[in-house]
Amino acid sequence: MADILEFFGKMGFMNMTWQQGLMLLISFFLLYLAIKKQYEPLLLLPIAFGMLLTNLPGAEMYHSELWTAFLDESSPYYHSYGAIMSHGGLLDILYIGVKAGVYPCLIFMGVGAMTDFGPLIANPKSLLLGAAAQLGIFLTFLAANAMGFTEAEAGSIGIIGGADGPTSIFLTSKLAPQLLGPIAIAAYSYMALVPVIQPPIMRALTTKKERAIKMSQLRPVSKTEKIIFPIAITTIVALILPDAAPLIGCLMLGNLAKECGVVDRLSKTMQNELMNIVVIFLGLTVGATATASSFLNIRTIMILSMGIVAFGCGTAGGILLAKLMNVFSKEKINPLIGSAGVSAVPMAARVSQQVGQEENPSNFLLMHAMGPNVAGVIGSAVAAGILLTMLG
């Protein structure tokens, strides 16, 4: 009888708190969004499932107290990966890849191998739009400070405005690991909501005439330029801003593998197998950090609300700079492509194309918008490097 009672006493149902129950419901909701609504399912599904696993009482797959001790200078386990390996569960061990900043860089390698920087090379001015769209990061950094977050936390919240999941995770794991769960969920949720968030801002900041502007065709880009581009960008950015080197270096390594044409096997592995494996590990472990104690508080709601402000400001920054460039430039730019300066590749570029075609069905902005779009990836990685240098 005592054994039976002990068995029942160990059941998760008997040990579940209401907070854990609520977290399970949130994870079910996120799974619904991923599967039924297809909101960034490749990432949201593992994140939601990681959240489900970590909030199952008694499963012991993730131990937030181990990671608290890992960060505590007075603890004997300070920066001890050995302690994590010996005492941790499955998700603790996989989380080492996030903590060490490995997964976001590997994902960037895959992103680089799938990205065509041709539109950016053909129209280098796109980089300015990618830079202006980072305005959201810095304005949100200011707002988060005013709302009582520390500077490191504010920097991590601001980077949501870069609309770049791996960059957000990379920076947050370095500056404010305790906020990783809410920030990752905010970043990926808003990226999925780009077609909902951006169009009203785009229409509000542009006139009909501006939205109908047709842009001239981009010049063809030679293979030599495409090969030199990743090498040059890596060298220059890493020499100016060493903290951005892991992200930019991996992004450009992937791109070089794609463009050089002599390592097709490596390029395909980066694009498919490596990328998919790392996405699974990253999603699961980031979701696992969303424990009831870290997620269910007012700060999470503040992070989610500031994330949307960051997104909106980034979109507005790109559009306004495009309008400003039109004042000085002979060749007119359709300001709608400025909104693609927030990364979210290629969703943001597709939104520019759709809104442009509503005004003029014969206008094809997609390739023009891809320039600022990939520039946004570089811009957000650079902004992350700057924040890491100044706040890390």
Binding site: Q134, S222, T224, I228, A232, V237, I378, G379
Partner: protein, 116 residues
Amino acid sequence: MILAINWPHVWMVTGVGFCMVIALLVVLIFILKLLGSVISGAVKAPKADAPKAAAPAAAPAATAISSADDDLAAIAMALHLYFNGVHDVEPTEIHIKRVERSGWNSKLYGMNNLDR
């Protein structure tokens, strides 16, 4: 709480950070433009040195551009047909056309039987 924040440092990070993003990407713009001009210059250089040799090469270049234009025209037409719903809609059903025979135009009735 707001008074406890180190506002000068926060403003410095905001201002300097954003300006550094802009500055770094402006540097990259110049480098990309330089790269583009150097590479296009390297491609054009043999033409300037040997105009006679370059003349036959003009034909394939023109063909390549023409081919790209054709591709673009085909893509544009496909998009136009798709988005405006003017593409032929095939019912994907096979029908056997049944011809009803009435005989109203039969040749038999149009022939005169002449007694010879």
